[in-house]
């Protein structure tokens, strides 16, 4: 019985891990994620790259949450960021399994921000987002500002 239970445990774990093949998170960029600020109008209003990012999700056996955060944000030495400057704004999707989708701009910081949830389903669904850079006005000193957005699919 011990042996059976041991193998049962191993089998269960392997089955759970095997579900990785059925779970899928892929983020595609549809444009170069580079903003240029060289005019007063650029620095005075949000800059948008339309449909910059597509998130593809499959979660066959469990519902899941899709969240995003800034895992890195670097900026010129003399700049002091006062608020979140990067945002994702949902534009469209082909999913009929989504819920808790935030249709408003989601401003990113170092903490995970929920973008949407998806019910379990074997199909891959695609969600498209605008990428927004909210400039800090004339406090934004010249230089290069770099960012990395980390997307996380967490099964519920």
């Amino acid at each position: 019985m011990r042996l059976f239970t041991f193998f049962f445990s191993l089998f269960f774990i392997e089955t759970s891990l095997a579900q990785d093949a059925n779970n899928f998170l892929q983020v595609n960029t549809n444009a170069t994620l580079n903003f240029i600020f060289d005019d007063p109008s650029d620095i005075e209003s949000p800059q948008i790259i339309p449909n910059a990012i597509s998130i593809q999700v499959r979660s066959k056996d469990k519902s899941c949450n899709i969240s995003a955060r800034l895992s890195a944000f670097t900026y010129p030495y003399s700049f002091v960021p006062s608020s979140s400057m990067i945002a994702l704004n949902w534009t469209s999707d082909n999913s009929n399994k989504k819920f808790n989708l935030n249709p408003n701009p989601v401003y990113l910081n170092a903490m995970d921000q929920l973008l949407f949830s998806q019910n379990k389903h074997p199909q891959i669904f695609t969600y498209n987002y605008n990428l927004i850079f909210q400039p800090a006005g004339y406090d934004m000193v010249p230089g290069t500002y770099s960012f990395t957005i980390l997307f996380t699919m967490t099964q519920l």
């Binding site: 239970t5 579900q19 960029t29 903003f35 240029i36 400039p135 290069t144 699919m153 099964q155």
Partner: protein, 164 residues
């Protein structure tokens, strides 16, 4: 033992069930030096109607409203477009120099005599027009003395905003 193994199984399955997957994208923003200069007003034509005006000159306070937007510390300078005023009326003097004019920020007492050489009239810090010192007025003084004929004269002034 069964219980232990069952608990172990549950723990392992729970651990396996709470999976997460991650993907990331990177981007950048390139910000250049950006500056904007707004001038409003400057249309007041001084009248010389008394002896005192010719003796001491005419000062127009708040002659020009200036707004600066800059993402770097800035310098505003001014110079005359030409060395001499141009008479707009027949018989006017053609030799009235730009030095008849002088300007200063309203908060300053230091008038700068205008010439064709650019002169700094104010400096400031980065920010929009709400930043301290980035919205201000200029006073102007006309002091031609008695050497020139009566009439209407014009002179172009060139304001230049640059980064420090």
């Amino acid at each position: 033992m069964k219980t232990i193994l069952s608990i172990l199984t549950l723990i392992l399955s729970a651990t396996a069930g709470a999976q997460s997957f991650q993907a990331s994208v990177s981007g950048s923003a390139t910000v250049y030096a950006i500056q904007s200069l707004t001038l409003t007003g400057g249309s007041i034509i001084p009248n010389f109607t008394s002896f005192e005006h010719y003796l001491n000159g005419v000062e127009v306070k708040g002659y020009l409203n200036i707004g600066v937007k800059s993402n770097k510390a800035w310098t505003l300078s001014v110079k005359a477009q030409n060395a001499h005023f141009s008479p707009m009326s027949a018989g006017g003097s053609t030799n009235m120099p730009s030095s008849v004019l002088s300007v200063k920020p309203s908060t300053s007492s230091d008038y700068k005599t205008i010439s064709t050489t650019s002169q700094t009239i104010k400096t400031g810090n980065k920010g929009d027009t709400n930043a301290s010192g980035n919205a201000f007025q200029l006073d102007i003084r006309y002091n031609p003395g008695f050497s020139y004929k009566g009439g209407i004269y014009t002179l172009g002034l060139i304001y230049t905003l640059s980064q420090q």
